[in-house]
């Protein structure tokens, strides 16, 4: 029994590492249920443990991955161990080679440890590219060692950073959940294929309905936060013989929210803008009083309800002359803040959808400060995955000036919309 307990405790720890909220109670439950089940039936054990440990559809997907990896037969375990040992040997050899290769003038290059690891793990073709570059530079390096050793280091760094980002993307794609809808929810929107669009649209509609339901519930929540309503209280008192048994309170008047949406539609941003507009359109609470602007190098105000489907949206963007041009956020924000009547005001939330890639970053930052001064709140939705933010200077600058939320997946987009409504 103690062996089982130990195994279960290890399994619980593994699930915890995978993000499942597993406590002592779950482990105790698992232990109790296993004591009455036929342990030789793997499928029954899996289903029983799943009922105990996984408390949502998302957690079920994570549970299945962990279960398959943890509860393996002795032969499978040996095979996995042999494979891991072989991989470890190969990695050790590659590390040794990498140490030799990442040298300038016989001294190791000053690179971050994680980037050195990227060099070890990346494909042979990519390493060849760097080796060839090093060979080409040998002559220059001998002529001016200091100048060219710095240059080579910066080339290495840039190349390795790109590789690191690509590897993270691959890992995200590989970890798709077993449920196709779930997978779509957590997949990078930029990775959507044409065939995924109808399913994504249906998913957006479902999430929007959910958000709408949450919002209406929030609006209707009762509480004793308002002032006493004398008229109602006296009237109610008549039902109970004149005693004021139940007190009535005035409801707090809801502040009308206004939303100004500034959507980047240049090049790769088009798909994100479509999805965000869909969300905004389907959220009846805010869409009534919202204004939408599309921008690339210039700004156009549009009626999102006129662009009911994705084809209409794309056609409009292409015919408007906004598509295929560069991004000038500074100009767009300046245009927005100087318009009369002013679209921005103290009760307005300005929602910017952009990847922060813009010409003239200092001007854009200045214009953002002015927009922040005029609007009650500025929220930036960024379609670039959050793990890549530290590598991009423009994101670092803009996120220091306003609240920035990721929206690279539909799940993140829904979370950001929830945050926006609070």
């Amino acid at each position: 029994m103690s062996v089982y307990l130990e195994k279960l405790a290890e399994f619980s720890a593994l699930l915890r590492r995978e993000g499942l909220a597993v406590g002592i109670r779950e482990t105790a439950d698992a232990c109790e249920i296993l004591s009455v089940l036929d342990l030789s039936d793997r499928e029954t054990v899996r289903l029983a443990l799943q009922a105990v440990y996984a408390k949502s559809r998302e957690e079920q997907a994570a549970f299945q991955r962990c279960f398959d990896g943890f509860f393996v037969s002795a032969e499978q375990r040996d095979a996995i161990r042999r494979k891991q040992e072989a991989e470890a040997r190969e990695m050790a050899q590659r590390r040794q080679e990498a140490e030799q290769e990442m040298q300038v003038n016989g001294r190791p290059m000053d690179l971050r440890e994680d980037l050195q690891e990227v060099y070890v793990r990346m494909g042979e073709d990519k390493r060849d590219q760097l080796r060839r570059m090093l060979e080409k530079m040998q002559g220059n390096l001998q002529r001016s060692p200091k100048l060219y050793s710095n240059f080579i280091r910066s080339v290495f760094m840039r190349f390795l950073l790109e590789q690191q980002m690509a590897m993270e993307d691959d890992a995200a794609i590989g970890s798709e959940a077993v449920d196709p809808d779930l997978a779509l929810l957590y997949r990078d929107i930029s990775q959507f294929k044409e065939a995924d669009i109808p399913r994504a649209a249906a998913l957006i509609a479902a999430i929007s309905r959910q958000l709408d339901a949450e919002l209406s519930r929030r609006r209707q929540s009762r509480g004793h936060s308002g002032k006493l309503d004398f008229r109602r209280t006296i009237r109610k008192g008549l039902e109970t013989g004149g005693s004021f048994y139940r007190l009535s309170y005035r409801r707090k008047r809801q502040k009308k929210r206004r939303l100004v949406l500034l959507c980047d539609v240049s090049g790769s941003m088009l798909q994100f803008s479509e999805f965000v507009l869909r969300f905004i359109k389907s959220m009846s609470d805010i869409s009534e009083s919202s204004q939408t602007f599309l921008f690339s190098e210039e700004v156009r105000e549009v009626d999102p309800f006129a662009l009911q489907n994705m084809d209409a949206f794309r056609d409009y963007v292409r015919s408007s002359g906004l598509f295929g041009r560069g991004t000038d956020l500074g100009a767009a924000l300046e245009d927005l803040t100087s318009r009369r009547p002013a679209p921005l005001g103290p009760s307005t939330t300005l929602l910017i959808l952009s990847d922060t890639k813009t010409i003239d970053l200092p001007r854009a930052a200045q214009a953002l400060l002015e927009a922040r001064r005029q609007a009650g709140r500025v929220l930036w939705l960024n379609p670039i995955p959050q793990r890549k933010w530290p590598y991009m200077a423009s994101i670092r600058t803009m996120s220091s000036l306003c609240q920035m939320a990721p929206c690279s997946t539909l799940d993140e987009l829904a979370r950001s919309c929830r945050k926006m409504m609070k």
Partner: protein, 306 residues
């Protein structure tokens, strides 16, 4: 009770399900944990509670959740009119303290489903249906009941369960439920049955229907559910309604005409009805275009293998 005998009891009650459902039900039952069932509308979540009540030979106590549901509707309410009347009648006959105390005795307590479930001498099956429709406050209020099997009534103190009910909560995921509630429950996600199981359900619930028609209907329903164009997916109950309608009309083969005439039993909006034409038997018959050799047509498309 083991999994096989539970499955046999569910079969007996004509609830056909897979090993996952039976195992999860048994786990929740054994551990005395509430069971949270999620899934799309119409997959048979509520039915599980009814069937479990019959399988365990227990009474079913049902609490239907809705927006604005509070403890006065779910747990208890003081019989206010009776209390007022009692005050008027006994005002001059009893001591004030004594009278006040008596006003909050069980005589004036109106039991609502939750209180009824835990005060019952015999264990019951408690169905808290569509918990996602209730407010977050009510969800928080349920925590004490679900984890401690007790409730607190401010005027009379803590009431512990006389018997432990088997609690089933259902949710259509109209809003995400709180972590605290989830943690207190075993979890089951129900999906629509596959064609084989749906055929078996049709045959179990409507034994007079011929097998050919049952397969055709199950296939057509499967296609409708798979189609992105159908917004409100047909439920199992609607499948059975459709079969009954076809049976009443004496239909033994699901021709496009028969399907068109009775489609209102399956789809309940004009947009879906319009799209169904394309999905099942219109020019855009999905089978026609996606057929693999040897794959059977749904029947509704009007094309039958030779």
């Amino acid at each position: 009770m083991d999994i096989a005998s539970l499955q046999a009891k569910l079969d007996e009650a004509k609830y056909l399900c897979g090993a996952e459902v039976a195992t999860t039900l048994l786990v929740a039952l054994r551990l005395g944990r509430p069971l949270l069932i999620e899934g799309p509308a119409g997959v048979g979540k509520t039915e599980i509670a009814k069937v479990m009540a019959s399988a365990l030979d227990r009474e079913l106590v049902r609490l239907q959740c809705y927006e604005g549901l509070d403890e006065s509707k779910a747990l208890y309410e003081w019989n206010y009119q009776k209390q007022l009347l009692s005050i008027q009648v006994q005002m001059n006959r009893r001591e004030a303290d004594d009278l006040t105390r008596s006003l909050f005795s069980s005589e004036y307590l109106l039991e609502r489903p939750l209180l009824r479930a835990i005060r019952s001498e015999k264990p019951v099956v408690l169905l808290i249906d569509e918990i996602d429709k209730s407010d977050e406050e009510f969800e928080a209020f349920l925590l004490e009941l679900l984890s401690e099997m007790q409730v607190t009534i401010p005027e009379s103190g803590v009431i512990r369960a006389s018997s432990i009910p088997f609690v089933i909560l259902t949710s259509n995921r109209a809003r995400p439920l709180g972590e605290a509630l989830r943690r207190r429950c075993a979890y089951l996600y129900l999906q629509y049955p596959d064609i084989e199981r749906e055929t078996a359900i049709i045959r179990a619930k409507a034994p007079n229907v011929n097998e050919h028609l049952a397969v055709q209907v199950a296939q057509a329903i499967h296609d409708l559910r798979q189609s992105e164009r159908i917004l409100k997916k047909p439920s199992i109950a609607e499948t059975l309604d459709w079969v009954s309608a076809l049976e009443a009309l004496g239909v033994s083969d699901l021709t496009p005409d028969a399907a068109r005439q009775t489609m209102g039993f399956v789809l309940k909006s004009s947009e879906d009805l319009e799209a169904a034409g394309d999905v099942l038997y219109g020019q855009g018959c999905e089978h026609e275009h996606t057929h693999e050799p040897g794959h059977e047509h749904c029947g509704a498309c009007g094309h039958h293998p030779a």
